[in-house]
C-alpha cells in the first residue's frame, strides 16, 4: 500500500491527572491514504480531538502518547522531539480547529499571521510571501484580498475567520489536513461553502483530510471512509457506504436510528440510545458501549471485543461478529478476527 500517508497503530494517549489516569485514547489503529477524506465521529469525550492532537504532537501536560505508533510517510512521529516535530507541523500536517480564535492571534493582522507561517516553512522573501498570502486568501474565497489582508481577526465574520484558518493551514500544501469540527459553529449555508472549499483544495493539492465531526450528514456528504469512536476506542471502521448501508456495530446502528435520516421521508419516531456516555476516569470494563447496548452479553462486560474484519474496508469491534454469538439481524458473523495487538 504505497499510497498510505498516515499509519496509526495501537495508539494510546493518557492524561495523568490528580483525579487519576484518564485513558482518552485506548489503542486505536487506522490508515489514511492519499485522497482520503476520513471522518471521525463519536460521542462527546470519546477521544476524537485527543487523537488529532496526538497526530499533531500537541498533547499537553499532564497528557502524553503512552503507547503505539504514528507513521507519517514512513517516519515515526511519536519518537520526534518537539523541534523535529515542528518540521512537520503546519507544513506536512496541519490542523484547523473548531474555534478559529484559538489559533488566530487577535493582535496581529490576518496578513501578518499568514506571512509568518509561509516564511517559517519556505524560503520565500517578504514580498513573495505577501503575494502568496493574497493568493491564498483569494483561493479560500475572501473577496478583495488586497484590502482584507490588512484586517484583524475581529473584523472578519465567523465564516471568513474559518476560511482564513484554512488558508493558513494549506499555505504549505500539507499532505494531511486535520479539521476538528471546522463547521460546527457555522450556519449550514456557510458550512456548505467551507466543506466544498476543503474538498476542492484537497483535490487540487492531492492531499488527504481527517474530518472530525458529530454530524452524520456532513460525513455522508464529504467522507469516503469513517472511524466511529466510543469511550476512547474504535468501534467501527468502514467505507461511507458500508457505514450507512450496513452498520456493523450496535453503537453506530443506535446513532443512525437516533437522527431523522431523510428530510423528504416519512416522519418516524426517533429511537434514542438510552443511558449516558462512560466516565473515562472509571471506564467500564469490557466493551465501552456495553452499559448502553441492547445486545450486551456476559462476555461484553468482561472483555472488549477484538476488531473483526468484515471486508477490505470494513471492521467492527463487537462480540456479535463472533461465530458463537447469538445471530442478530443485519450483523454478519466471521470465522477469523483480525490481529489486534
Amino acid at each position: 500500500m504505497s499510497n498510505t500517508i498516515l499509519d496509526v497503530k495501537n495508539l494510546r494517549t493518557t492524561f495523568y491527572t490528580h483525579m487519576g489516569e484518564v485513558q482518552a485514547v485506548r489503542g486505536i489503529s487506522f490508515e489514511v491514504n492519499q485522497g482520503d477524506v476520513l471522518g471521525i465521529v463519536g460521542e462527546s469525550g470519546s477521544g476524537k480531538s485527543v487523537t488529532a492532537m496526538s497526530i499533531m504532537g500537541l498533547v499537553d501536560e499532564p497528557g502524553r502518547v503512552s503507547g503505539g505508533s504514528i507513521l507519517f510517510m514512513g517516519q515515526e512521529l511519536t519518537k520526534l522531539s518537539d523541534a523535529e516535530m515542528n518540521e512537520y507541523r503546519g507544513k506536512e500536517i496541519s490542523m484547523i480547529f473548531q474555534d478559529p480564535m484559538t489559533s488566530l492571534n487577535p493582535v496581529y493582522t490576518i496578513g501578518n499571521q499568514l506571512i509568518e507561517v509561509i516564511r517559517r516553512h519556505t524560503d520565500l522573501d517578504k514580498d513573495q510571501a505577501h503575494a502568496r498570502a493574497i493568493e491564498l486568501l483569494q483561493m479560500v474565497g475572501i473577496p478583495e484580498p488586497e484590502i482584507r489582508i490588512k484586517n484583524y481577526p475581529h473584523q472578519f465574520s465567523g465564516g471568513m475567520r474559518q476560511r482564513a484558518m484554512i488558508a493558513m493551514a494549506i499555505s504549505c500544501s500539507p499532505k494531511i489536513l486535520i479539521a476538528d469540527e471546522p463547521t460546527t459553529a457555522l450556519d449550514v449555508t456557510i458550512q456548505a461553502q467551507i466543506l466544498d472549499l476543503m474538498v476542492r483544495l484537497k483535490n487540487q493539492l492531492h492531499s488527504s483530510i481527517i474530518l472530525i465531526t458529530h454530524d452524520l450528514g456532513v460525513v455522508s456528504e464529504v467522507c469516503n471512509k469513517v472511524n466511529v469512536m466510543y469511550g476512547g476506542m474504535l468501534m467501527e471502521k468502514a467505507s461511507v457506504f458500508e457505514l450507512f448501508d450496513s452498520p456493523q456495530h450496535p453503537y453506530t446502528l443506535g446513532l443512525l436510528k437516533s437522527i431523522p435520516r431523510d428530510v423528504t421521508g416519512e416522519r418516524k419516531r426517533l429511537v434514542p440510545i438510552e443511558g449516558t456516555p462512560p466516565d473515562l476516569l472509571k471506564p467500564p470494563s469490557g466493551c465501552p458501549f456495553s452499559p448502553r447496548c441492547p445486545y450486551a452479553m456476559g462476555i461484553c462486560v468482561r472483555e472488549a471485543a477484538p476488531l473483526y474484519t468484515l471486508s477490505d474496508t470494513h471492521s467492527a469491534s463487537c462480540w456479535l461478529h463472533h461465530k458463537g454469538a447469538p445471530v442478530v439481524e443485519g450483523f454478519v458473523q466471521v470465522e477469523e478476527e483480525s490481529v489486534h495487538e
Binding site: 456548505a192 461553502q193 456528504e221 437522527i259 435520516r261 456516555p277
Partner: protein, 329 residues
Amino acid sequence: MSDEKRTPLLSVRNLTKYFHTSTPTGPGIIAAVDGIDFDIYKGETFGLVGESGCGKTTTGRTIARLYTPTDGSILFDGVDLATLSQRELRPFRKRIQMIFQDPYASLNTRMTITDIVAEGMKVHNIASGDEMQERVYQMLERVGLKREHASRYPHEFSGGQRQRIGIARSLAVDPEMIICDEPISALDVSIQAQVVNMLEDLQKEYGLTYLFIAHDLSMVRHISDRIGVMYLGKMAEIAGSDELYMNPLHPYTKSLLSSIPIANPHKKVSDTRIMLKGDIGSPINPKPGCRFAPRCRYVQERCGFETPLLREIRPDHFCACHFCETIKD
C-alpha cells in the same frame, strides 16, 4: 386539522425589538427583530429557524417578556403581553415557560434539584410542603430521572440529564406554552433523540404548545407542525413543515434547505445544492429593501428599496419576496 387546533394561542404582530449600539459614525440600532408576524396554534409545535444572529432568541425572549418589545403586539390567549406591567405579567410567567440551550448555565449550581424544580411552584403558589416534594418527585420521574436525584446538585448530572431537569422545572408549574431555545444543540447526537421524544410525549400528555428554536433543520422538520424561517430580523417564510421542505418559495429558504447535508451517502446534496454567496449581513442600522438582496440570485432593482411584505401565496403558506410567484429553479 381540528377546529380546536386552529385557535391561535399566540398571535404576534409587528413584533419589534431593537438594541442600541455604537458605530464608528455614532449611535446605531441593532434591529434584532424587525416587525414580524406569526401565529402559533394550540397544541402545535412551531419551529423557528434561520442563521446565527437572525433574531430567533430575541423573538423567544421578547414573547416570554424577558425583554420589553420596542413595538408590536403579543396576543396570548387574547391578552396583549406587550403592554403589561411586571405585576400584570405574573400569571403569564406561569403559563409561558422557557427552556434554554445550555442546560448548565441555566441551572443554579448551588441549589439542589428539588429547590430548582420547586422554585416556580413556590413563586406561583402552586404547592408547598409535602405536596410540593411529591410533585417534584413526580416531575423528575416523568422526565426519566429518579427520586434519589432530588437531593443532588446540577454538577452531578450529564448534559442530557441537566436538560431533563430544566424540562422538569418548566413542567412543574403546569404551563400551556414552552419556548424551547435550542434545547438539544448542546447534547450528543445519541442523547438528542431522548430529549426530542420526551418533548413529543409531554406535548401529547399535557396538550402543550411549543415554540421550538433550532438550527438543526432536519430535527426542526421532525418535530414541527409549522415552521417560520427568519433572516436578519425579518420573517422570510412560514408554512407547514412538509410544505416548506417540499415547496420552499423564498430564495433564502431554497438555498438553506438545499444546504442541509443528509445522512445518506447515496443522496449527496452537493449535486443539487444552491450555493449562497457571501455571509449573512449586519442587523445594524438596516436600510429599506429586502434583507436578503445582497445574497439573492434573483435580485432586481425593486428589492433594493422596497421591503417585501409577508404575503399568503398559497393557503397557509406565507412568503416575503417580491418575486416568489414567478421564480423558477
